[in-house]
Amino acid sequence: MAFPLPRPTRPELPQRRVRTLECGQGAVRAVRFNVDGNYCLTCGSDKTLKLWNPHKGTALRSYQGHGYEVLDAAGSFDNSHLCSCGADKTVALWDVATGQVLRKYRGHAGKVNCVQFNEEATIIVSGSIDSTVRCWDCRSRRPDPVQLLDEAKDGVSSVKLSNQEILSGSVDGHVRRYDLRAGQLYCDYVGSPITCVCFSKDGQCTLAASLDSTLRLLDKDTGELLGEYKGHRSTTYRLDCVLSEQDTHVGCASEDGQVYFWDLVEGSLARSLPVGRGVVQSLSFHPTLPCLLAATEGQVQLWHKESFQEQ
């Protein structure tokens, strides 16, 4: 006898600011949840990388070793390693517990915008303004990348990985998806410089935010446009976009200090969160809960759904 499935609850969006972390590391260039959403990483413009428990508001550790602004970071699946990249053109692999830099990958010719682990944390993929995406091996000590993806004509602003694909968004207005299993490169032209790309959680769609203040939801297989989301302002800066934990909503940071959420299917503006007065630089959505981290200026804000009760 099977139990009836729990009644599907109406998807909720983060609405209430629960906590504000003053990071004290200059401008927060990026904030990222770890794999299970219990911790987060903040990348500061003062060359430090910090590990937080955003739910309790405690700073756990500070990682120093970059030579310039830290621009992006990611955590491994087992929370044992971190990777980060920065304007010092390097990609670093950190040990979480000791805070030591395990490896430093030099090779990019410009500042490194984005970095991602693959599923098993054996490869770090980084994208740089030198218009290359480089895949670094974490297992061996080889100093050069495993593979260099130099198809982009302009800087790479965002990189995401699925378990068999590398998705990169570039300033030349193309979303490139390298399918390792099929051995194909799919190249979608969006027309405007891309600031952020995302996979949807079901792996069927890609979301691309571009500098014409538009988010586009593209079908992964055909490249067709499934949805377009407008209303925010993104013309200058590299801002993040997110998908909510159940793929129900699309969110994007804006230069007017708000975070906008649209209904994914209808394309209608669902909510805007007043985060601050400055540009909201970075967003990170909790992997399982309706919970959002937004970084603006020197602080990170944690947003929860309306009915959230703090323990």
Partner: protein, 915 residues
């Protein structure tokens, strides 16, 4: 009733023995279960049934030795007194009695062995014999084996005898013998050879004249001749494996063979395969150790002796069965047909050896070798005509023994037209010389006119006109000179030899570079090969320019992006991606029409690295390809298509060269417009700024000679040709472009020139305000006000305070300048009007530096900020000029928040300092 019953009992007949009446009170005996049932032998010892064949071995007493008491050795008998009679112990001494019984392993009693038992018992052998009979060359010959039958007459024979059959008669009802002397039916045609008369029907047998009418005869004992059609695909006479020998091994091959000689190939008559010479053991009978599924263990004691093998190499004797037997037959002395058949082998039945041999084919002798031929192969190495290779080449030539005086022997195709002409001894005629005098004059005029026209067109608008193709050498060199003038300093250095393959060309190239360096424009044409056509020269010149440029670019910042192949310039092919992307214009229109999908999608074959696949746990999609990335194809370097797509050699290359060179290069380079450069709003705004700035700077220019005057839009609008440094800064990012430099403000707002630039930072930050306010008034929706680049500004300032040298461009600034492509990072403070409200909790370094200078600054600020109404409290707290700046233009309500913010960040800064 009792009596009657008794009488009844008497009447009854009882069969069998009556059961014992059950004793009273005794229970029925349980039947002995199966596992407890035992069998004992005559001596009361348990027999066991768990053995393999004959009930198993009872190894002694309950699997012990001998008796209940265990193994007792034979008692010792001293040989001194009484000589122990030496008995040779045989195997029998160690056997039990059961072993000698009928079913033991060494039965003592006499039984009929298989040889004499009914043959039907031996099924395998029987079958083998049948097969042999069928396959034999003379069918039915196995029947002879039956002639020597077993001594025991079988039942069938006995029955037949009882029915009146006698040996020698056929089986069947008795028949009358007819004088059937039938002539062969003439109607019946006989095909093939007529039978020999002796073999014709009925010819055999005794031809008795006397044939009584009423006498019947037994049928003739005819071996039915079974005419077996050839069903297999073997060759004639091929027999395949001899089953009897294959089945019974080599030991059974010879024992008794009645049909020696001709019928050697027949199977053994008796078929006694058992008794072989190799059998030497005394024990006969069955032995253990044979598999359970075998019917009989035939010859397990057979020994392999050397006598069974040939010890002498001799020719295959013919007649020992046909080829194809696996087992070699023992050779008999049969020399009959040995003589001719040494080489051809066995002669099949019905074939004869040819009497005269066919004439052998003609044999051609191998060609004679040259006299000085050495049967050693040497590899002639391919040696390029490079400088570094000449020694190697010489050495190799010496080693190969051919010392040629003319090492530069080139093939016909490697020569150019002039070289060929020299070799042929022709005197060169230019194309022009073929023309008549008048035509030449006319051509010249036309050329001059066009050149003048072109010059007139080009020179006034030089900076922009770079897309127009050079029409003559002069123009081309002019253009090129402009482009790479300053880079020539090291363009011709000795280690760069782009034309090393063609020494003449390389020489010309070096002269060319030298002359370029000296600035001799006119000599440009002297270096060129005068014998070539104009078009060739033009092309060569362009090539040289490009080479010079290429060399320059290789040690610039972009060198990491380009790998320089050695001597790539001489290779006529270039690698281009195999799959071409779709036209970008087409895609753009598709995007505008929102027709995403096929029109905006490019699909390429892409080869991931093998290791990458392994790390992603994905099978390699192209396991056998060695390509990584996109597959490339080679195209002609000078194909028309490539020329069409090489519009500006100057753009991308020069853009990336380092700035020092560019600073001295006052010429405007066509800058590739990045899509990041402008949104329309910003353009508008910038124009206004630049207007303002250029106005202001025209004043400042008189005093300021520092090279770091900011780049402005002026260069684009053509306003700024006067200043040599604009082009240098043009590459800097937009933020810097839109922001006037410190020097400018200093020039405007300070009168004293003795102030160090390091101290001017406060002013610059503050005096920025008027500029931005102008802008703000113009564009309200502006995103990127000049102040938003505050971090960069600070960088600059810090750099100057560090060095204390008035020159601004530092390495850091350069780094910023070269790196700022793509979407910008949001400023550390929020942009727009509010950004200055928040103090910058910036990097430690800067803060420390500022602290050091704090006192100095405050002093000066006192002097300068008289008119400002804001106080210096914040300065004491933070020492940050930014605060004042922010408060200055902020409204009163935001001032509070800025205060609080300042406090918190101040704490953070302290914290940072503590670390």
């Amino acid at each position: 009733a009792a009596g009657s019953s008794g009488s009844d009992e008497d009447e009854l007949v009882s069969y069998g023995t009556a059961l014992q009446p059950l004793p009273e009170g005794e229970r029925l005996k349980k039947p002995v279960p199966l596992q407890e049932q035992t069998v004992k032998d005559a001596k009361g010892r348990y027999q066991r049934f768990h053995g393999a064949f004959t009930g198993g071995f009872s190894a002694g007493y309950f699997n012990t030795v001998g008796t209940k008491e265990g193994w007792a050795p034979s008692t010792f008998v001293s040989s001194r007194q009484k000589r122990a009679d030496r008995t040779v112990l045989g195997p029998e001494d160690f056997m039990d009695e059961e072993d000698f019984s009928e079913f033991g392993i060494a039965p003592k009693n006499i039984t009929t062995t298989d040889d004499f038992a009914s043959k039907a018992k031996d099924r395998i052998k029987e079958k083998a014999r049948q097969i042999a009979g069928v396959v034999a060359t003379i069918p039915g010959i196995t029947a002879f084996d039956d002639l020597i039958g077993p001594s025991k007459i079988t039942v069938g024979v006995e029955l037949l005898r009882k029915m009146g059959w006698k040996e020698g008669q056929g089986i069947g009802p008795r028949v009358k013998r007819k004088p059937c002397r039938q002539k062969p039916d003439p109607a019946v045609k006989v095909y093939g050879c007529a039978l020999p008369p002796g073999l014709s029907e009925g010819s055999e047998g005794e031809e008795d004249e006397y044939q009584p009418e009423n006498v019947t005869f037994a049928p003739k004992d005819i071996m039915p001749v079974d005419l077996i059609p050839k069903e297999n695909v073997h060759g004639l006479g091929y027999k395949g494996l001899d089953p009897s020998q294959a089945l019974f091994g080599a030991s059974g091959r010879v024992h008794l063979n009645l049909f020696t000689g001709d019928s050697e190939d027949t199977s053994n008559l008796i078929g006694d395969l058992r008794h072989s010479k190799g059998r030497k053991l005394g024990i006969t009978g069955q032995a253990f150790g044979v598999g359970a599924l075998e019917e009989e263990d035939d010859d397990i004691y057979a020994t392999e002796t050397l006598s069974k093998y040939d010890t002498v190499l001799k020719d295959e004797e013919p007649g020992d069965g046909f080829y194809g037997w696996t087992a070699p037959k023992q050779y008999k002395a049969n020399k009959r047909s040995e003589r001719e058949v040494k080489y051809t082998g066995m002669i099949l039945d019905g074939f004869l050896l040819a009497s005269k041999s066919s004439t052998p084919g003609k044999i051609y002798p191998p060609p004679p070798l040259p006299r000085n031929y050495r049967p050693v192969h040497y590899f002639r190495p391919v040696v390029a005509d490079g400088n570094e290779n000449c020694y190697l080449q010489k050495a190799l030539e010496e080693s190969t023994g051919k010392l040629e005086s003319n090492t530069r022997q080139q093939s016909r195709h490697a020569l150019n037209a002039s070289q060929r002409r020299e070799q042929l001894g022709e005197t060169g005629l230019k194309v022009l010389e073929y023309l008549s005098e008048k035509d030449r004059e006319r051509l010249k005029k036309v050329k001059q006119a066009s050149e003048q026209k072109m010059k007139a067109k080009i020179i006034p608008q030089e900076p922009r006109n770079s897309s127009c193709q050079p029409t003559s050498l002069d123009d081309a060199s002019h253009k090129w000179l402009k482009l790479l003038g300053p880079q020539l300093a090291n363009a011709g250095s000795s280690d760069f030899k782009p034309f090393a393959k063609n020494p003449e060309k390389q020489k010309r190239y070096e002269i060319f570079v030298k002359s370029l360096k000296q600035g001799e424009k006119d000599t440009l044409e002297q270096y060129l090969d005068p014998n070539t056509t104009e078009w060739e020269r033009e092309r060569e010149q362009e090539e040289f320019f490009r080479a010079a440029m290429f060399y320059k670019s290789s040690n610039s910042a972009l060198s990491s992006r380009f790998t320089r192949a050695k001597y790539e310039d001489d290779v006529d092919k270039v690698e281009v991606p195999r799959d071409q992307e779709k036209d970008i214009d087409d895609k753009e229109t598709a995007v505008k029409m929102k027709m995403f999908g096929k029109r905006t999608r490019d699909k390429f074959e892409w080869h991931p690295e093998k290791l990458l696949c392994r790390r992603f746990n994905v099978p390699d999609p192209y396991p056998e390809s060695s390509i990584v990335g996109l597959p490339k194809v080679k195209r002609d370097k000078y194909s028309v298509f490539n020329f069409l797509t090489v519009p500006e050699p100057a753009t991308s290359v020069t853009q990336a060269t380092n700035e020092k060179v560019q600073q001295s290069n006052s010429l405007n380079k066509p800058k590739k417009p990045s899509r990041w450069d402008v949104s329309d709003k910003e353009k508008e705004k910038k124009d206004s700024i630049s207007e303002f700035i250029s106005l202001a700077r025209s004043k400042a220019d008189a005093q300021q000679q520092q090279p770091s005057v900011p780049a402005t839009q002026g260069s684009r609008t053509g306003l700024s040709e006067s200043h040599p440094t604009e082009a240098a800064n043009e590459d800097k990012d937009q933020e810097e472009e839109s922001r006037p430099s410190i020097d400018l403000f200093k020039a405007i707002f300070t009168s004293s020139s003795d102030e160090k630039s390091s101290s001017s930072e406060e002013e610059s930050e503050e005096e920025e305000q008027p500029a931005t306010s102008v802008v703000d008034s113009e564009t309200t929706k502006q995103v990127d006000p000049p102040g938003s680049s505050s971090s960069n500004v600070q960088d600059n300032v810090v750099a100057t305070t560090d060095s204390g040298v008035p020159l601004l461009p530092t390495s850091k600034q350069e780094l910023d300048a070269t790196e700022e492509f793509g979407p910008k990072l949001p400023p550390a403070f929020s942009s727009g009007r509010f950004c200055r409200l928040l103090p910058f909790p910036g990097p430690n370094k800067k803060e420390k530096q500022r602290k050091n200078r704090q006192k100095q600054k405050t002093k000066r600020e006192h002097k300068h900020k008289k008119e400002k109404k804001k106080k210096h409290k914040k300065q004491k707290n933070k020492g940050k000029h930014k605060n004042k700046e922010s408060e200055k233009d902020s409204s009163s309500d935001t001032a509070n928040s800025s205060d609080s913010d300042t406090d918190t960040t101040g704490l953070a800064a302290k914290e940072l300092l503590r670390r």
